[in-house]
């Protein structure tokens, strides 16, 4: 009996220890960053490629899209996430953050206090951005208007409400996050791959997620149930996010020119307009240089063609 107790107790200690180690934050340090000053024009390009304002501008603030006061609600099966204020306000926003703290948020999903962020904030994608582009983006964000808006905490169900557990999630998912490599890519395809898998975070909606919200890399961009659920008693889904691989279920019939033009104009090849959440994404993409939209199109034509319901 005594021996059993010791064994159980030992396992509990070991389990706690393993949890503690695996869920530990893993921040970058200042010496890992290049000592360069921010290129604001490139920072602005990254801002539009990332679509920061689509989640962080105040809801419904179309005339005020550069004031990133936060507060957008994202109802999901795990609970309701609320986008934070990332304006340069020193108290309510991120005005006091150092460049290192900003980069740790973007690539390691860590707050300045080294708490884990929930991956509703798409750092599994942003981790693919270069330090140079992130330094530029931070420089650009610093030039935007401040807002003193205070955003309420996320409202999540247990056990998702325990932040420390996200460390385990990162251990399982962060390193394997899909970045599909194509064989012998041109410089244009490489640029598209970088934009799609980095700032653009296309997979955050277009790649299906497993039961813990991790991207399924073997179903890269093949369409997904919208993670967002409509508010209301029946919790009805807001629809299906399309397959954007070159499969007939996806956009196999679209030419590169069609993809490029759709991101520029908002019209698909049948001249239906984009709808739903893709409208803002398209309007962000329309602000990129034409060569970047062409690069995205070239990359999307080069990825594996997957049916919408592959296992």
């Amino acid at each position: 009996m005594k021996r059993t107790l010791i064994v159980v107790f030992g396992f509990a200690i070991a389990g706690t220890g393993i949890f503690y180690v695996l869920s530990m934050p893993d921040p970058l340090t200042a010496d890992q960053l290049p000592a360069v000053s921010a290129d604001l024009a490139n920072g602005e390009l990254m801002f539009w490629a990332g679509g920061c304002r689509s989640c962080h501008a105040a809801p419904g603030a179309e005339d005020n899209e550069l004031t990133l006061s936060g507060g957008m609600e994202l109802p999901t099966p795990f609970g309701t996430f609320r986008s934070p204020n990332i304006s340069p306000d020193p108290d309510a926003g991120i005005g006091r953050w150092s460049t290192l703290e900003f980069i740790n948020a973007m690539v390691r999903g860590l707050s300045p206090q080294l708490e884990h962020y929930y991956p509703a904030f798409p750092y599994p994608h942003y981790q693919n951005m270069t330090f140079g582009d992130l330094i530029d983006l931070k420089g650009y964000l610093d030039t935007l208007p401040g807002s003193s808006n205070r955003v309420a905490e996320h409202a999540l169900a247990f056990p998702y409400s325990l932040r420390r557990g996200i460390g385990l999630w990162k251990w399982r998912y962060l390193s394997r996050n899909a970045v599909v490599q194509t064989s012998a890519p041109s410089a244009e395809v490489e640029r598209g791959r970088y934009l799609v898998n980095g700032a653009g975070h296309c997979g955050a909606c277009h790649t299906p997620r497993d039961e813990y919200g991790g991207d399924m890399p073997d179903r890269f961009l093949s369409g997904a149930e919208a993670i967002e659920i409509a508010e209301g008693p029946d919790g009805q889904s807001v629809g299906r996010i399309p397959n954007i691989t070159p499969h007939p279920d996806g956009i196999g019939a679209w030419s590169e020119k069609d993809i490029e033009y759709s991101l520029e104009s908002g019209f698909d090849p049948d001249f239906d307009s984009f709808g739903g959440t893709m409208v803002e994404v398209q309007e962000n993409m329309a602000r990129l240089p034409a060569a970047d939209r062409a690069a995205i199109a070239a990359y999307l034509k080069s990825i594996p063609a997957l049916p919408s319901d592959s296992p």
Binding site: G223, A226, A230, D234, Q236, S237, V238, G239, R240, I241, P242, N243, D249, K257, Y261, S265, G266, F267, D270, F271, D272, S273, F274, G275, G276, T277, M278, V279, E280, S308
Partner: protein, 160 residues
């Protein structure tokens, strides 16, 4: 003669009503949903005429561009209210995968009206200049897209 016309019209109306009733028996609101989707197809078809030119896939033709823009303007002025009966949204039984119209559309009818007037305004501008050259068509496509997205962003669910 006049009597014959009246009789014929009455017969046609009766026939149409009967057909509509049969159609409704097949699926809820099938007739109205088919009508509004066909109505959207008219938009897409004419936008495709302009868009092929704007995109550089078809040579610019002033008469064709003008005709397409005029059709779009006429469509936007058509009263299509009866195609959107209450309850014919995607959450209704049997309508998932048939329509992508979100229930919110019916609780925001004044916004729908406002957006529809914005689309008409964009098409008035397009129709006025579509015959003046490719540049005029290209520079007005964005405002027309905004007109479409005005309703598609808030009121239409994503679909495969």
């Amino acid at each position: 003669m006049k009597k014959l016309v009246i009789l014929t019209l009455a017969g046609a109306a009766l026939g149409a009503t009967t057909l509509a009733t049969f159609a409704q028996d097949e699926a809820p609101f099938q007739n109205q949903i088919e009508a509004r989707q066909s109505f959207m197809h008219i938009y897409r078809f004419n936008l495709g005429q302009l868009g092929a030119m704007a995109k550089g896939e078809a040579p610019y033709d002033a008469a064709e561009a003008s005709a397409a823009a005029t059709n779009l303007l006429a469509a936007s002025k058509m009263n299509n209210r009866a195609m959107w009966p209450a309850g014919s949204d995607m959450s209704a039984d049997g309508l998932e995968g048939v329509t992508w119209a979100k229930p919110e559309l019916w609780s925001n009818m004044s916004e729908v009206g406002e957006k529809s007037r914005e689309l008409t305004a964009a098409l008035v501008a397009m129709a006025a200049v579509a015959g003046d050259g490719l540049g005029a068509v290209q520079s007005n496509m964005g405002a027309v897209a905004d007109g479409c997205k005005g309703c598609h962003e808030p009121f239409r669910a994503s679909k495969d």
